[in-house]
Amino acid sequence: MSEPALGEQFHDLERQAATLRFGMWIFLVSEILLFAALFTLYAAYRTMFSEDFREGVLHNTFAYGTANLFILLTSSLTASLALYGARRDRRRWTGLMLVATAALGLAFIAVKLTEYGKHVEEGSTPGPWYHYAELPTFGGNRFFTMYWGMTGFHVLHLAAGVLVVSWMAVRAFKGHYTARYHVKLEMGTLYWSLVDLMWIFLWTILYLS
């Protein structure tokens, strides 16, 4: 196992870990505000076109959204288990759990892409491409534009998360995360949990009628 590097601006590893963890939380707050802008728009348009938004939710495929919810909840579990492994110096376990997390992330993306395919087929596509016969209204267009915007933005975050988690898996197998120092793993799993949390909210407003 390699020695963790102490930055020259710090006096000890504990303080360095605390600072990194704190910085990550601040960054996550910023991420939440990024999504908050979209949620605000969604709320405003839902107020303006409440009937069409209710219809839009009904026309979404509940099964896809819910399958993805379970996939992501499970991935948060495996991410936490990876952290559990690192705290006990079990490098193989940590690595495997991170691989599982990344695989579940890919499964989410696969389901999402399938669902997008369905939307393209039926014409519930955003903005000028919208030609959904079952809901041919401005409100329907607004709903699916928001839907594509929000889920698309989320899936970009998730894809970034998959890259981060895969990178962490490699590091874990190499033994970079020890019981004494594994703050970067903690930061990565925090980010992953945020992406998961976002989906819980998106699922609620886009799939639950």
């Binding site: 910085g23 979209l38 955003p126």
Partner: protein, 548 residues
């Protein structure tokens, strides 16, 4: 408390951060917050000069009621260029990324910021954002103004997208710096340094960082959506397909109003460092300054609606936003009284930074008072989209932020570069900046009140006299800024060597040598006293801090 027993005083003078390494690469690849601060300083100053050139071109065009030197479309693009450059490439990053970067760790007694690599990344993200923005401007430019209001931004034939991507990138740089400053302030303070003796400049950078972290992502999203609207015609803000352009204004101002405090809070932080130093007196109320800083940062999030009184807002909502805006005025007034109260009965030594402060004080109070008037719905309707608004925000943003930026540049110049500049030229240029500024923008208040709309290319001949005065003022202002910068450039090469504490300040940054060594303090200092305590001598302060 007794001074810690330091057996050995400061050993041999460590080489300064400027000398410790040499060569271009040692700068481009540095992690040192001081070098990154200097690189930011050079970059934002360059942006300021470029934005200033656009301003002078605009003012020159406005010398005559019709065409003078450019056609109408060029004029529209030019004022957008001016606004975008000044707001996003200069004012928002100006003081935090340069002086904040340089001073925050020193004032906290730390060796560096919490995340030095992130700091460097913030710099390069900024450079990339600036390059994309300028690239977009040169390739086609846009004519929406710096506010990108929908639905015009969706429909304009000019190219909005690259400019929007550039500003989005700049926002990422803001967030990186904000996260870094917040984490550093919380976790990197020296022994004895708590929230009640934190230098007040740190308080303002902290408040600014909170705004950067919370508001910038919302702007980023608003601009990303406008970009998507323009490129893909999604119509998110386009009423032709059911979108709502007023929603854009809400989201835009949710950032862009707090952004005003990103610009002015650090300026207030500079002032509160400058005033006690040249009055040789402790700040009249530390708590009042700290609380009003946090107060402005907080209330700033609840006032965005006062930009939208004519966008179809109910009288009640407008009243609420108006009242919230007045709170900002109350906190600002507390600050004004503490600055003036600090001067009262001080041993005032008039130097260039203090001359800038005198200008700042007048301009800030004047700009602030007109802001209160503008936040009153009945008056605002008359002044909306006139030169009155332009003059108001230039008083705050230029009169406030730019004079404070120049004050900071002169105040910390000896610390950053270890040289003294010519005081006479410094004071002359500070006075000229003030006169030029007043001439440029006081006339615009009058023009606005007479009904001159903002962003117009042509105007009725009866306005010409005031326009000519304003243009003359702008040229004077431009010349004065060049004189000030020239003076500093000369000092950089030929200036007298600066002692560690040329102003005899008690601020913590003056405990280290000028320019500071790479790790700021040779030993970890103990900062358990106030940086504004003039009852101690300089030697006592140094001894107490344990820096020899």
């Amino acid at each position: 408390m007794t001074a810690p027993a330091e057996a050995v005083p400061a050993p041999l003078e460590a080489p300064s951060y400027l000398q410790v390494e040499s060569g271009l690469w040692s700068w481009l690849n540095t992690r040192d917050h001081k070098r990154i601060g200097v690189m930011f300083l050079a970059t934002v100053t360059g942006m300021f000069l470029i934005g200033g050139c656009f301003a002078l071109a605009l003012r020159t065009e406005l010398l005559t009621p019709n065409r003078t030197i450019m056609d109408a479309t060029t004029y529209d693009r030019m004022f957008t260029l001016h606004g975008v450059t000044m707001v996003w490439l200069f004012l928002v990053p100006s003081i935090p990324t340069s002086f904040g970067n340089f001073l925050l760790p020193i004032q906290l007694g730390a060796r560096d910021l919490a995340f030095p690599k992130l700091n460097l990344m913030s710099f390069y993200t900024f450079v990339l954002g600036a390059a994309i923005t300028f690239g977009g401007m040169i390739a086609g430019g846009t004519d929406t103004g710096w506010t990108f209001y929908a639905p015009y931004a969706d429909a304009t034939p000019t190219d909005v997208v690259p400019v929007v991507i550039g500003i989005f990138t700049l926002g990422m740089s803001s967030i990186f710096s904000g996260v870094n400053f917040i984490a550093t302030t919380h976790l990197m303070r020296a022994r004895g340094l708590g929230w009640s003796n934190l230098p007040l400049f740190v308080w303002t950078i902290y408040g600014t960082s909170v705004i950067m972290v919370l508001a910038t992502p919302v702007l980023g999203m608003a601009l990303a959506l406008v970009g998507l609207d323009h490129a893909l015609h999604l119509g998110i803000f386009n009423p032709a397909v059911g979108g709502d352009p007023v929603l854009f204004q809400h989201i835009f101002w949710f950032y862009s109003h707090p952004a005003v405090y990103i610009m002015i809070l650090p300026a207030m932080g500079v002032v509160i460092e400058v005033v006690p130093t040249f009055a040789h007196r402790r700040v009249s109320s530390y708590v009042a300054v700290a609380v009003s800083t946090v107060g402005i940062a907080f209330v700033g999030f609840l006032t965005w609606g006062h930009h939208m009184f004519v966008s179809g807002m109910s009288t009640f909502d407008a009243g609420v936003f108006g009242i919230m805006s007045m709170f900002v005025a109350i906190f600002s007034a507390i600050k004004v009284f503490t600055w003036v109260g600090t001067l009262y009965r001080g041993h005032i030594q008039v130097r260039t930074p203090l001359v800038y402060f005198f200008g700042f004080l007048f301009l800030f109070v004047f700009g602030g008072m007109t802001g209160v008037a503008l936040a009153t719905q009945a008056l605002d309707v008359h002044w909306t989209d006139t030169y009155f608004v332009v003059a108001h925000f230039h008083f705050i943003m230029v009169g406030g932020s730019v004079t404070a930026f120049l004050a900071a540049l002169h105040y910390w110049f000896p610390k950053m570069f270890g040289r003294l500049y010519d005081e006479r030229v410094g004071m002359l240029s500070a006075t000229a900046v003030f006169i030029g500024f007043v001439l440029t923008f006081l006339t615009q208040f009058l023009l606005g009140n007479m009904g001159m709309p903002r962003r117009y290319y042509s105007y009725p001949p009866r306005f010409q006299f005031l326009h000519v005065l304003s243009t003359g003022g702008a040229w004077l202002l431009g010349g004065a800024v060049l004189l000030a910068l020239g003076n500093l450039l000369v000092a950089l090469r030929w200036g007298e060597k600066a002692p560690p504490n040329p102003w005899h300040s008690r601020g913590f940054e003056w405990l280290v040598s000028s320019p500071p060594p790479k790790h700021n303090f040779s030993t970890t200092p103990r900062l358990d006293f106030s940086p504004y305590d003039y009852s101690m001598t300089e030697e006592e302060a140094r001894e107490r801090a344990g820096v020899g």
